[in-house]
Symmetry: C2
Subunit: 331 residues, 2 copies
Amino acid sequence: MRADLLSRVLSLLPEPAGRPELRHYAEMLRDYPQRGGKGIRSELLLASARAHGVAPDTAAWEGALWLAAALELFQNWVLIHDDIEDDSEERRGRPALHRLHGLPLALNAGDALHAYMWAAVHRAGVPGAMDAFLAMIHRTAEGQHLDLSWVEHGEWALQPADYLEMVRLKTAYYTVVVPLQLGARAAGTQPHPDFEPAGLALGAAFQIRDDVLNLTGDAVKYGKEIAGDLLEGKRTLIVLHWLTQAPEAQRQTFLDQMRRPRSEKDPAVTAQLHQWLLDSGSVAHAQALADAEAARGLALLERAFAPLPTPERAAAHELLGAMRALATRDA
Amino acid sequence: MRADLLSRVLSLLPEPAGRPELRHYAEMLRDYPQRGGKGIRSELLLASARAHGVAPDTAAWEGALWLAAALELFQNWVLIHDDIEDDSEERRGRPALHRLHGLPLALNAGDALHAYMWAAVHRAGVPGAMDAFLAMIHRTAEGQHLDLSWVEHGEWALQPADYLEMVRLKTAYYTVVVPLQLGARAAGTQPHPDFEPAGLALGAAFQIRDDVLNLTGDAVKYGKEIAGDLLEGKRTLIVLHWLTQAPEAQRQTFLDQMRRPRSEKDPAVTAQLHQWLLDSGSVAHAQALADAEAARGLALLERAFAPLPTPERAAAHELLGAMRALATRDA
């Protein structure tokens, strides 16, 4: 995220001070935000605010900036808890927080950041923002529950529709739908009703692209372990599509590996599964679906922004360009 | 908690509906609240509201009830995460949530309840309540960090003052200070400045009594495993006091057991440690300190409530009685 937004996030968090344990606490809260996330969601929120006529150096812009900071705090507490839930090894090129400090302290740090997120929402003073954040967290937690319960119960008898329902809840609301809506709220405007279907389509495109990058990406640019989803047993569109058409022996090898806990997965077999997935048509199939979802979402957004006056239209044009890039990004 | 408050809490949570996984999610969110907590904090908040002149069936009373529901939701999400952090076996006489459903789903359910807590705060519409909840969570998370980091780093070189700092942050704010303040806020009144020192003393008394009950209590009434604190390696005033005067051989046995993870602790040795603690004067010492803290807190509160008109004074009298019972309760 950009430097001025990072400063705003950090200004809300406690300074390292007092007894050593509490200095350590403050440093833990500052760790993930300082690792340099891309700030995709906060940029989208600010672009949406501009497209709704919010001008820099106004009270409304200040409100939008606090909401953008809140969205970054949301992303960071969710990542800390996600990394625990998935027992991920790395986050943004460094060990996950619970691998540095143990699970209990990391879980607690995530809870604390969650509360600081609400401090940022409160500070924004934007009518309707609190309801938007509540709805966002509710949907994200429901999607997270779907995803985690499939892992917990070893469920692989899933259709692409199940995957799409999960990613809409888990990713699309907080990545696209709510940032678009919050930009409108910051301008004192009722969000366009098409932001929801548009954001759901674009959010699904974003997550599918993420799943593709997890298998095909450049580890340095991507910032997470390549094929980490395979080690964590993630249900992705790629895997679900591949399972419907893979040779029976490959299918059995896959399901056998997925039954094992991460520590007992054989790295050679994981590498083999990774190669089978890359060699199949399933990556291209998933990317094609991401492209189609992105196109559908963009068409809805273009229509929603069409009646804008000229200055806002330029901002909307920029926003649409950023949205277009999400489904084809490299990192 | 009382039936009408439980209904209010449950009315905020999603109904079990939709696909099986999401029904399961809704049931997980409803589990801890339905296990029947004592509702100590919500009762205190409501007593404080009455003592500040809030009458039943008014808009202010409705606000107080939503704040009371929020406080119960706070308690429940914190307990879910606490039980994970301490790897507790039981909560209110049943297996802890993560032992029923696995850690990832339980962690996520705690996050969801945290968000529903904010929905209740929002619904209350009481000016100042959001700041009070923010301060409460910040202090509680700091105290939790102190406690957990001592466990994480095997720290036993601690003084009673360290323990008192920890419990004031971890327990006293959310158990006494903030409920008292929220009762005033519900009445549209600025909280009395002495609520903070009074609540810190009474909250410490409450937690020390809890530590005493953990060693001496009746398992059925108490609802947690007796001597669970020993298995979890909790730093309590009793243990810290005992360590300063225990025979060296007993000290070494204790520290050796505490270095082991819970699963490798010897039940016979734990039973022996439990007996040593009971036979020492440290339980009585801790209870005496709890009594002194309670008396100090009560004196401050009595003075704060003294200028009240007659009807409110009856409510304040009731509140003081409930506070007095906290430091000597049996469960």
